[in-house]
């Protein structure tokens, strides 16, 4: 997005003169939406960011949170929506590369990746091509750098047919004492390591800060090819530099390239810098302006004390890692850029790094009313088995094996609970103890498009529940807000509401939002915004990974219980959409106090070893949760709807398919049922024991003395495993 006339005036005021072309380019890159958060900064202050565990909060490239008193997790989320729309393979791949480099800035070791993908319908040829490209891009890059992709979220919806959302997250770990928290000082050297700078990726950030052009062919400068081999060498050589204490400060070169890296580092520490551009190692001949804003991938900035430079150079040389020493920090707060001895720019760092925030107008579109419409007159209930089969084979619910088997989710030998079996992934620290962490990412584009405030709150709650379901204690989240054009008030409204929904729910659940990312302009060339979507990634603490819970049923004769109250909440559900084609109605209400109470109960019951399996109730409701547990455990069940604790329901489909929040299904060891009930009474939690686990492959639900649903497990499994057929054979 070119600078506006007001912004150019602002630049003249800051400099007290006309800017040079290089200076203009620097301001344009740094003041882009992507780098400066100018439209979102004011609202982002609403997010609660404090807790006693937070070591580094929002503001740096990645936050750090104490997982244990001596260990931190560093985690962050990022979107690569626009690049993935034009070049799905490389766009998604370079998204992974970028998020990993954020984690490297604190010197942590990247140990897990997540991908939250909101893509078009597999039967649409263009969307299908995007889906394959995106997943392959993540696979080829993530696998090659040796960081396992352990969890994610996958959703298919026609609104993403040409503009998918590719959200990726990375988790790093480090002993508390090892993270790199130093500050650069005047005289310290600025070293760029990694790929040679080239013309590739000129002005990528401004590309991401505007709608897709109709003729995307012209966006060639924004096409970036990932180089995972160099990324892997960056990871390895940085680990060595950090372990030897050779670097004081690390910053990635991401959006805005060198300009952003220098200006933010200087502004954050009240410093200036002298940079000699001609010292940069380059791939081809570049003019100063290009050197300043190129977003070539796989580059990092490290700050080195002059006396340690030789040792740093030795490490980099042995790793065949290209680098260049391009300048040093000064005291005066001015960034001075030279090229072959001539000064090409002189800009005050603070003003460059922090453009004035913009207040955007916001008002709800008429369409937003669909979220207030109660669902009161539904057609007659279809057969329950038909409904269940349709839901299980919905690409949004079906097993995502086709996706996660393309990812190496085991490298690092930390993955205790791998994708597919648990509501969240569980990894051990591998420090000789059994300590570890859980991580999961979630969103529901349908909820947030119908009701952005409550929908976003539900994303937080769902992530929280998924972390609890594996037996972890959630400690912090990061968020990614994917919205439309901030200059359009009825798009911006969705952003504002989603953000407020996250802020509210995070506050209620006591979860600090330690970082996040905003992606605007997610609209197609006709200006239609995709479903606005809030993605939440959360991390939970696990004291003993060997006790972590999976969702598969395990033992014949044990009891099946529902934790939480079921309400008739069909608005915005997968059921309403798959069976009746409706995407409207009041979405399930966020219930923070029930979330907290029920989570506490689950964690106690897990801690007391009463349970064999836990699964949160999410998309598809109770019937789907039960079916997933049976299919994954390869065991049957026999349950009755009569005993399900529900309020205000009039129809059975409201019990089976409502997506009421704050609920779990658990498998209780048969000898522990009385204790389980007692614990529930003591904590004031509503539970209902609804049936038993069978060792034959049948799935039955009864009402009174009659079966209302009875199916062979193999039929359900076949539906649940249908995604590969849909994607591979759909075209």
């Amino acid at each position: 997005m070119p600078l506006s006339p007001e912004e150019i005036n602002e630049i003249r005021r800051v400099l007290g003169r006309e800017p040079t072309v290089e200076e203009l380019a620097m301001f344009e890159a740094q003041w882009s939406e992507h780098c400066s958060y100018k439209s979102s900064r004011i609202l982002l202050r609403l997010l609660p960011a404090e807790s006693r565990y937070v070591v580094v909060g929002p503001g740096r490239d990645a936050p750090a949170v104490k997982l244990f008193k001596d260990f931190v997790v560093v985690f962050k989320i990022e979107s690569h929506n626009h690049p993935s729309a034009v070049d799905p393979y490389d766009g998604a791949a370079t998204g992974i590369g970028g998020i990993v480099r954020d984690i490297l800035t604190l010197g942590a070791k990247p140990v897990a990746l997540l991908d939250m993908l909101y893509m078009g319908e597999p039967v649409d040829p263009h969307a299908n091509w995007l889906i394959r490209g995106i997943v392959k891009g993540i696979s080829d890059y993530g696998n090659r750098i040796g960081v396992p992709t352990v969890a994610g979220d996958t959703w298919f919806d026609a609104s993403f047919n040409t503009q998918p959302l590719v959200n990726v997250a990375c988790v790093g770990v480090a002993p508390l004492n090892n993270i790199v928290l130093g500050s650069p000082r005047p005289g310290d050297l600025i070293v760029i390591m990694g790929n040679a700078t080239g013309k590739d990726g000129l002005l990528g950030s401004s590309f991401a800060s505007k709608p897709l052009a109709e003729d995307t062919d012209k966006e060639i400068g924004a096409v970036q090819v990932g180089d995972p081999l160099t990324e892997k060498l960056l990871i390895d050589s940085l680990q060595i530099l950090v372990s030897k204490g050779l670097v004081k400060y690390i910053k990635d070169l991401g959006g805005g390239g060198l300009t952003t890296a220098i200006s933010e580092t200087c502004a954050d520490h009240g410093l200036g810098a002298v940079i000699e551009l001609d010292k940069m190692h380059t791939r081809q001949k570049l003019v100063p302006l290009e050197l300043l804003v190129s977003e070539s991938q796989e580059r990092m900035l490290i700050v080195v004390e002059p006396s340690r430079l030789r040792e740093v150079e030795e490490v980099l040389t042995s790793y065949d890692m290209p680098y260049s020493v391009i300048g040093y920090f000064t005291e005066d707060g001015l960034i001075r850029i030279f090229y072959k001895g001539a000064k090409v720019a002189e800009v005050p760092a603070k003003e460059l790094a922090r453009p004035r925030a913009v207040r955007r107008a916001s008002h709800p579109p008429a369409e937003a009313l669909k979220g207030l419409k109660p669902v009161y007159s539904l057609p007659q209930e279809p057969s329950y088995i038909e409904s269940l089969v349709k839901l299980l084979s919905s690409p949004n619910i079906a097993s995502k094996r086709w996706v996660y088997e393309q990812y190496d989710h085991e490298v690092g030998v930390r993955s205790v609970i791998k994708p597919g079996l648990g509501d969240a992934a569980v990894l051990r620290l591998l420090d000789g103890s059994l300590r570890g962490f859980a991580v999961k990412g979630d969103a529901n584009p349908r909820y947030t498009s119908i009701d952005p405030f409550h929908g976003a709150a539900n994303s937080v709650a769902e992530c929280f529940r998924n972390l609890v379901a594996v037996g972890s204690k959630p400690i912090a989240i990061v968020d990614e807000l994917n919205a439309g054009n901030p200059e359009k008030p009825d798009h911006f409204w969705y952003f504002e509401m989603m953000l407020k929904g996250v802020a509210w729910m995070a506050e209620e659940l006591g979860l600090p939002v330690v970082g996040g990312k905003v992606s605007f302009y997610n609209e197609d060339y006709r200006g239609r915004q995709v479903k606005p979507t809030t993605t939440i990634v959360g991390v939970g603490r696990v004291q003993d990974v060997s006790k972590a819970m999976t969702m598969d049923l395990k033992e014949e004769g044990s009891a099946i219980a529902v934790v939480g109250v079921t309400y008739p909440e069909l608005g915005g559900t997968e059921y309403l959409y798959r069976l009746f084609g409706l995407e409207e109605g009041e979405i399930p209400r966020p219930r923070p106090s029930s979330e907290l109470r029920n989570a506490m109960f689950i964690l106690k019951a897990v801690g007391m070893n009463m349970l064999n399996a836990v699964h949160d109730v999410g998309v598809g409701g109770l019937a789907v949760a039960l079916a997933e547990m049976a299919i994954l455990g390869n065991m049957g069940i026999e349950v009755s709807v009569d005993r399900i604790y529900a309020r205000g329901v009039q129809r059975i489909d409201e019990i089976l398919f409502s997506e009421t929040q704050a609920r779990y299904v658990v498998e209780v060891k048969s000898a522990r049922v009385e204790e389980f009930k007692k614990l529930a009474r003591r904590l004031g939690v509503h539970i209902s024991i609804i049936g038993n686990v069978l060792d034959k492959p049948v799935f039955t639900i009864s009402k009174g003395s009659k079966y209302i649903l009875s199916a062979d497990l193999s039929l359900l499994r076949d539906s649940y495993n249908s995604l590969e057929r849909v994607i591979e054979g759909g075209v």
Binding site: N143, Y319, D320, H409, V411
Partner: protein
């Protein structure tokens, strides 16, 4: 032995040192010298990005060319996944590894069976023993022509995918092969990921242990 892009080096070291109590070091390929070691493992990953062909560029490095000498000295050599691809590319093991049938990278647990166990890596395995391990590869479809198969593998130790578990279209369901004396062995599955109960999914057991137990046993007996 670690190359640019190797990524299972620390995993293998963890298993050797922390699980089986052996002494082991990760050696950067530039610093590798055969004679220092009792046994050498080429771990998995993507040496040189898997570019050209998995293992092809690493196979032309000085370090790997030195392995011919290790072979001559009878030093046990194990190639896991990318390490196997390298050993095949340099000709220390027969055959070739091609792109998976599915055209996709695949990561999942599978079941294999050992035949004619022998040599330092399989000393403790029983003939016909079933071993569960995960695979994670894009180029794991083992190929060998019938003539070479008959002359080289009918008397050598091999690892086969059990019926229904062949994930990539390998001929004769081959998951791993060795030299006739079993001193050099290579396999696509990852034994280091299958050496601890904690990491094995419910339906599987950690089948990689026997390989590390065997080398430990063999080295202690002065292989």
């Amino acid at each position: 032995m670690k190359f640019p892009g190797t990524n299972c080096d620390e995993d293998v070291r963890h298993v050797l040192v922390d699980v089986f109590g052996l002494e082991a070091e990760i050696v950067w390929y530039k610093e590798f010298a055969v004679k220092q070691w009792d046994a050498v493992i080429l771990p998995g990953g993507f040496s040189y990005g898997d570019w050209l062909r998995a293992g092809a560029i690493a196979a032309r490095t000085h370090a790997v060319e030195e392995l011919a000498e290790a072979r001559y000295l009878g030093i046990p050599l194990l190639g896991i996944c990318n390490g196997f691809q390298i050993l095949v590319e340099v000709g220390l093991l027969p055959g070739a590894l091609l792109y998976n049938d599915s055209g996709r990278f695949v990561c999942r647990w599978i079941r294999t069976v050992v035949e004619r166990p022998r040599g330092p890596w399989l000393a403790l395995a029983r003939d016909g023993q079933e071993l569960d391990m995960p695979i994670a590869h894009a180029e794991g479809r083992y190929y060998i022509d019938e003539e070479s198969y008959n002359s080289l593998l009918l008397n050598a130790p091999v690892l086969r995918y059990l019926n229904g578990f062949n994930p990539n279209g390998s001929v004769h369901d081959i998951a791993g092969v060795g030299t006739e004396d079993g001193v050099v062995f290579g396999l696509m599955p990852h034994p280091e990921r299958a050496s601890e109960e904690l990491l094995a999914p419910k339906m599987f057991s950690p089948g990689g242990r026997v390989i590390f137990e065997s080398i430990s046993y063999s080295l202690k007996r002065g292989w």
